[in-house]
């Protein structure tokens, strides 16, 4: 990218007739533009992160007085907490399964929408609606649908299957995991669908025409043309979605409240409980740092691959 500048003009000997302040502004223009945004991010993201690093090494607990330096004790407490380990496993499991289902369903729906047909615009507008709804409301909606005895789900299933279905969707394992995944899939499949559809429509149609002339069948064309062309887009969609899925909190807060017991504690929910309902702030910040490190590893791994795919 070439640099956007007219320094040549000024250095050519035609100084702009400006006051001192205006000249200073002119000279530092690019930094003045980024200043406010950078300052805000530093104040509300970098400074808090640094502060939390300090907090995680001292005692900052609303139940124990004083702020003594305690070394790695807060980290130890998290690492040796079985609930913490379970929450990490659950976060990986829930987000992995959700994203996988969303990806496959989103790809399938995108494939049905590539070609134009009557009503496509309207269907498109309907399918993207879940993206604009608060996850809290998504959780609420699925609670209304699944909650016994109010929700209609068990009734509909009983009618379809021909026998009485009495599943506690939000209280019984494994159904509560399935419920949480369904809510996530409902909200975020459109994300995959929209991005993959954009990728599919950008594949030049003449590739398919040429393949057809060569007698390649639809299945072979999918593997030979669609998949390789779509790969960068797939990676991007999965990366973005996965990085959001591992934060899963809102639907759990509404649908299960982490329960029964600690069965539906995700990493975010676990840290929230430690910090905001038990007020072990130091332990929570230590846990947040561990979670950040795990996330950062995933990010570097995925984003590296993403950048490499884009370069190719």
């Amino acid at each position: 990218m070439s640099n956007f500048s007219l320094r040549q003009m000024t250095s050519a000997g035609a100084p702009l007739p400006l006051s001192g302040v205006a000249q200073w502004t002119e000279r530092h223009f690019k930094w003045i533009l980024v200043g406010p945004a950078v300052l805000l991010i530093v104040a509300l993201s970098i400074y808090p992160l640094a502060f939390s690093l300090v907090v995680s090494f001292i005692n900052y607990d609303f139940q124990i007085p004083g702020h003594a330096f305690v070394g790695l004790k807060n980290f130890e407490r998290v690492i040796f907490d079985p609930v913490a380990r379970w929450s990490l496993v659950l976060t990986a499991g829930l987000s992995g399964v959700s994203v996988a289902v969303e990806f496959m369903l989103g790809l399938a729906v995108a494939l049905t929408m590539v070609r134009s047909f009557p009503g496509r615009g309207l269907i498109m507008s309907i399918l993207i609606v879940p993206l604009f709804i608060s996850p809290v409301i998504v959780g609420q909606a699925w609670t209304l649908l699944l909650q016994r005895p109010f929700g209609p789900t068990n009734y509909v299933l009983s009618q379809l299957l021909g026998y009485e279905v009495t599943i506690g969707w939000l209280t019984e394992s494994p159904w509560l995991y399935i419920s949480l995944i369904i809510a996530d899939v409902w909200q975020w499949t459109p994300f995959m669908f929209v991005i993959l559809l954009a990728g599919l429509t950008s594949i030049p149609p003449n590739l398919y025409e040429a393949a057809e002339l060569d007698g390649v069948n639809a299945w072979q064309a999918f593997w030979a043309i669609t998949l390789p062309h779509l790969a960068p887009m797939m990676l991007l969609a999965i990366t973005f979605r996965l990085l959001d899925a591992i934060r899963m909190f809102d639907t759990i807060f509404i649908m299960t409240g982490g329960g029964p017991g600690t069965q539906t504690y995700t990493a975010s929910y676990y840290l929230y409980t430690i910090g905001f309902t038990q007020f072990h702030l130091s332990q929570a910040t230590a846990g947040s740092w561990l979670f950040l490190i795990v996330t950062a590893l995933v990010v570097t791994l995925l984003v590296r691959r993403l950048l490499r795919a884009e370069v190719n």
């Binding site: 003009m9 980024v34 907090v55 049905t112 649908l145 950040l292």
Partner: protein
Amino acid sequence: MAVRAARRPRRRSIPVARILLLGFFLIFVLFPLYWILNTSIKPSDDYLAVPPVWWPEHPTLVHYEAALFAYRGLDGLVNSIIVSVSATILSALLGTLMAYSLARYNTGGRHLSFWVLSQRFLPPIGIVLPVFLIYRSVGIYDTRFGLIIAYTVFTLPVSVWMMFAYFRQMPKSMEEAALVDGCTRWQAFWRVAVPLAAPGIVAAAVFAFIACWTEFFFALLLTSRTAFTLPTVFRAFIGFQGAQYGEAAALAIVSLVPSIALGVLAQKHLVRGLTLGAVRG
């Protein structure tokens, strides 16, 4: 596959698999929305009827009234509007300033732009605890101002990156002409580039607004009884001891209509919004 079969002009067979899949998915998307609407206007007596009441004979608005007034939904709505609009304006403004600098002057090289991007992927739980402590000590816990600042920061990466992509694909010849004509850099930006980028700024603002409007986590932890936003009002319905199904559904309808309307209107920019400008839809 169904798609490929439909491509062939000769064989206009009806792609059954495609219609079935699309049909099922449409029902899957629409049914929860229908059920919220149905629940919100259903008299409480119909709640536990078997078979379920698919559409109430005597629709009622009592749940809306209760949700807005008894459960303080209206206060939440007002807070949501003030906070989301303010944060959106700030985010779009600061995001555009920064994006212009990044796109035209390559400020800070790749590092600065990727640093901003990395903020988008920071798990909120990592910063919300210290922010909570800082807010309490500064005295902006449970204030709209505090939430506005938090939302501005959390939407900035998307605003910056959407506008960064927009400015990069915009020809710079107009601004260069303005500079040659003796405009200051600020004038070239404010009078020439910003009007040209207006559609992009509006799109970025719409996505910032939707993000603020639907946000729950920060609002839950940084506000309490004063500055609470609409999504946090749903806490009142957790557990359903009093079976406030109708109130929950009514509040959901009130909350989802504005963001859906805006989102569908801006759907042309959806791909750019979802991928932070990485993919041009």
